[in-house]
């Protein structure tokens, strides 16, 4: 065997292969026969699914663009009360998953909900219900998704603004542009790649969203996939719908990848980078800037947090009834197990790619990191399809006992699918750390007598420790919030904060959903606060 096929190459190859299995499964099952459900759906709901997905996508993109770039612009270029606080506080919105936002919206605006209680306390008994607007259905889904996801646009756009050359802005002023004209014709176009990258992430998350749209009973392609499997037990059709949705997502993924390449160029061009002077706003403008940022912070974080806290206090029996410690340990168990596996394998795979310099491996890893673009529902179903196929066609046919139970409805299976889902996040996070290590560093190590293993352990791992910490927290944050994979693949009686909140909410017990939701928000917020310095990447700002 050639020396090129060493341990590192084989490990990376195997890891990448495991990750692309679901994509291959979805692709191959596109050609399978399905039950009648397919015909029924084709005649009736397919149009509705696609239409709803598109409406949701366009609205969320518009809304996240407006609030994401607007807030990024204000905190990057201006000084106003609490502008430094908003700079990082706005990313706390990531702590609130769309489905919990949806519970909060409903809890606040529903008949006899929190809004009703406030009005009653302020103005006395009356029938306020008909005057309180209802944010449910499509509107509720749009708001829930937008306030949870605008952070992607905010973070990337703000980073792009941060590295925008002061010269460019000075040039605008020199040409006599007003602040608005400078923003519109100089600042915004040069941040375009970052904005597109942010919006692409929002788009992928929107198309993959399950919890919030399911809660508001909006039929999208994702809920269609879930229902075709759960209600009609038609895996083949679920996979076909998945393939259809994947086409959408791959188009977006491609767009995101292309724009990220440009964004990278943008980030690297630091020549002539000067720290921008932030403009101090006059009183009126300062107030509006503050109000804008405060409203976003309030609506995206304080409002759901407050609502969940209020209900937890109002219905303390739910707190007592909830086995919080079990949920906490279950969540922690999943987080530690999954993120450790993700970090270790992503690290090995990254190093394997680095030392192997093999084209096939390169293509395979590029394909394998598309896992993040594939909705959790699809991944879970593709995984089940694959296991069932292997079990029926290979394991049982040669006389062995079924292995389905080992993978489906077990922690093992759940962790594998988490691994596939979040592999790209871990892989890319570690890769960006690796990009800071010049290849000559490795070669110097070899020439100093270090073996590949020793170079990895003694040089790379210590250097990457900050990146590893950051990536593990990021991955943990995703796992804590993740819903559909846990719902589909968790073992019987194994609940996390996310699944408990979902189950209570789907049984119309929103008050009971508040406690696990509150725990989830608080834990996620702590994680975000720990990593905010890395996420914002601007210690000198």
């Amino acid at each position: 065997m050639s020396k090129n096929f060493n341990f590192w190459f084989l490990s990376s190859f195997l890891i990448s292969l495991i990750v692309i299995i679901p994509i291959l499964t979805v692709f191959s099952s596109f050609f399978e026969n399905t039950s009648n459900y397919f015909d029924i759906l084709k005649k009736t709901f397919l149009f509705e699914y696609t239409f709803n997905s598109l409406i949701l996508l366009i609205s969320v993109l518009t809304f996240t663009f407006l609030i994401g770039t607007g807030s990024a612009y204000l905190v990057s270029f201006y000084q106003f009360p609490l502008s430094n606080f908003f700079k990082w506080a706005l990313i706390l919105s990531f702590a609130v998953p769309p489905y919990i936002y949806a519970y909060s919206l409903t809890a606040f605006f529903e008949n006899y909900g929190t809004a009703f209680t406030i009005l009653k306390n302020l103005f006395g008994e009356a029938n306020y219900n008909k005057h309180i607007p209802k944010f449910d259905g499509m509107l509720g889904s749009i708001l829930s998704l937008s306030f949870s996801l605008f952070g992607y646009v905010y973070i990337l756009t703000r980073a792009s603004f941060l590295y925008q050359s002061q010269n460019l802005i000075d040039l605008g002023k020199n040409l006599g542009f007003s602040n608005f004209k400078s923003f519109y014709s100089v600042i915004l176009p040069s941040a375009r790649p970052a904005i597109v990258a942010g919006l692409s992430l929002v788009a992928m998350e929107t198309l993959a969203e399950f919890g919030a749209v399911d809660f508001f009973s909006i039929n999208t392609l994702t809920t269609g996939i879930y229902n075709s499997w759960i209600a009609f037990d038609d895996l083949a059709f679920a996979n076909q719908l998945s393939f259809f949705l994947l086409l959408f997502i791959f188009a977006l993924f491609l767009l995101e990848n292309l724009s990220r390449k440009k964004a990278k160029y943008h980030f690297n061009s630091r020549g002539g980078f000067k720290q921008k002077k932030k403009l101090k706003l006059s009183n009126n403008k300062s107030f509006f800037a503050f109000l804008f940022c405060f409203l976003i912070f309030f609506l995206s974080f304080l409002f759901p947090l407050g609502q969940m806290l209020y209900w937890t206090i109002k219905f303390p029996e739910n707190l007592i009834g909830l086995n919080a410690s079990t949920l906490f340990f279950n969540t922690l168990y999943l987080v530690i197990l999954s993120s450790s596996i993700l970090i270790i394998f992503s690290l090995i795979s990254n190093y394997g790619n680095r030392v192997s310099k093999n084209k096939i491996l390169n293509i395979l890893s590029t394909l394998s990191i598309s896992g993040y673009a594939i909705p959790g529902v699809i991944l879970a179903i593709a995984f089940i399809t694959f296991i069932v196929w292997i079990d029926e066609n290979m394991i049982q046919s040669i006389g062995f006992l079924s292995v389905k139970k080992i993978f489906i409805g077990s922690i093992f299976g759940l962790v594998i699918v988490y691994f596939i889902r979040f592999y790209s996040l871990a892989f890319n996070g570690i890769k960006s750390g690796y990009e800071k290590i010049n290849i000559y560093v490795d070669e110097s190590a070899y020439l100093l007598g270090y073996s590949k293993r020793k170079t990895f352990m003694n040089i790379h791992v210590p250097f990457l420790r900050n990146s590893l910490l950051f990536v593990s927290i990021l991955v943990s944050l995703e796992i804590i919030r993740e819903l559909p994979i846990a719902l589909i693949l968790r073992p019987f009686n194994f609940e996390t904060f996310a699944t408990t909140a979902y189950i209570s909410a789907s049984e119309d017990l929103l008050e009971a959903a508040a406690v696990p939701s509150l725990f989830l928000i608080v834990i996620a917020a702590i994680f975000i606060m720990i990593t905010s310095k890395y996420i914002l990447r601007d210690t000198n700002d």
């Binding site: 800071k436 290590i437 560093v441 070669e443 070899y446 020439l447």
Partner: protein
């Protein structure tokens, strides 16, 4: 018995499947010799060093160090198992270690060596005392390069490979380091291959120079011969220290050019009388004489410290360089006439 300390026998150096330098033959006879590889950027000099270090493989020929084949089509000793150090042109310091730690990592390989280099001395010579506690990102490119050089030296290798070792070092500091470096290498008998595109650096450091042009080693000789007896027009053009003018061989020690007349000297290669040749004229070949009746027009004058290099136009429109000591009392301006001493007598005649 060791025949040659180091040998490259008929090796084609390639990177990414693309041949860069073909059929190279270089020998270093004695331990402690320094040779230089000279050539334009992008020609494959670094590829040669990387291959010798074991970072690239070969498909043809063999590389032998201390009588042991370290690279051939069948054999490839891994880089960590060759006692060869390579100091990269680019920053190759370990980013999470201080400069001090980085440099002393070189000591790990010391047990493989019988040499005895004092790390404190190296640090002092390379002027790194003030940056020892800093991290690589906190120091300049020149300091990184010196630190990398120190690390390679301290590892006391059998063979030291230096890739443009002083390209980022300040000019004012460069000559001092060149002197000290040569001293350390000689005193400790460290066999070294230096890659550079700076011919003066190569001529100073190397006891032999390999010139790589057009994907092959054009000349491998001592610096004096490379400069004064270039073996091809490509070498002349690369060194850019002279021009070729047409001449006709008129005898065993003379030739004639239509503008300069009879030129006398010792041919380094025999040419039959009457043959037409291209004569190499270097700036030192012609002498200035204000009283001469052979006058040429000045088209340019470059001040080079110890001398001026005048560029003169001949009647047949050739441009000839002539060096004149800067203390020469009369300076000639552009468009003025400039006298050439007659008869023209050259130390040696190089023709193509």
């Amino acid at each position: 018995m060791i025949k040659n300390f180091f040998e490259i026998n008929n090796v084609t150096f390639a990177i990414g499947g693309k041949d860069r330098v073909n059929d190279v033959n270089i020998k270093i006879e004695q331990e402690g010799d320094i040779i230089c590889i000279l050539g334009p950027s992008g020609i494959g000099k670094t590829t040669i060093l990387r291959t010798i270090a074991g970072l690239e493989k070969i498909n043809k020929g063999q590389i032998i160090l201390k009588n042991k084949i370290i690279s051939s089509k069948q054999i490839h000793v891994e880089p960590e198992k060759r006692n060869i150090a390579l100091s990269f042109q680019e920053n190759s310091l370990f980013p999470h270690y201080t400069i001090d730690k980085n440099i002393h990592l070189g000591l790990k390989k010391k047990q493989l060596s019988n040499k005895n280099i004092d790390s404190k001395e190296i640090i002092k010579i390379l002027n790194l005392q003030d940056v020892l506690n800093k991290y690589p990102h906190q120091i300049s490119a020149g300091e990184s390069q010196r630190a990398s050089l120190a690390r390679s030296l301290i590892s006391q290798p059998d063979l030291l490979l230096l890739d443009e070792p002083l390209s980022n070092v300040d000019q004012s500091f460069k000559e001092d380091i060149q002197v000290s470096l040569k001293q350390i290498l000689k005193n400790n008998k460290i066999t070294t291959i230096v890659v550079t595109h700076d011919s003066y650096e190569a001529f100073y450091l190397g006891s032999k120079c390999a010139l790589i042009l057009d994907n092959e080693v054009k000349q491998y000789d001592d610096p004096y011969n490379v400069y004064h007896f270039p073996n091809s027009i490509q070498v002349v053009n690369f060194l850019n220290r002279g021009i070729l003018i047409p001449a006709k061989v008129t005898g065993g020690d003379s030739l004639e050019n239509e503008d300069l007349g009879i030129i006398k000297g010792k041919f380094i290669k025999h040419y039959p009388t009457g043959s037409n040749v291209q004569l190499l004229l270097q700036p030192e070949d012609l002498e200035h004489d204000d009283d001469s009746n052979l006058k040429l027009e000045v088209v340019d004058r470059k001040f080079r410290g110890t001398n001026f290099i005048y560029t003169l136009r001949t009647p047949s429109n050739k441009l000839i360089p002539v060096a004149v000591h800067t203390h020469h009392w009369e300076q000639h301006e552009v468009n003025e006439k400039f006298g050439i001493k007659r008869p023209i007598q050259l130390e040696h005649i190089v023709c193509f």
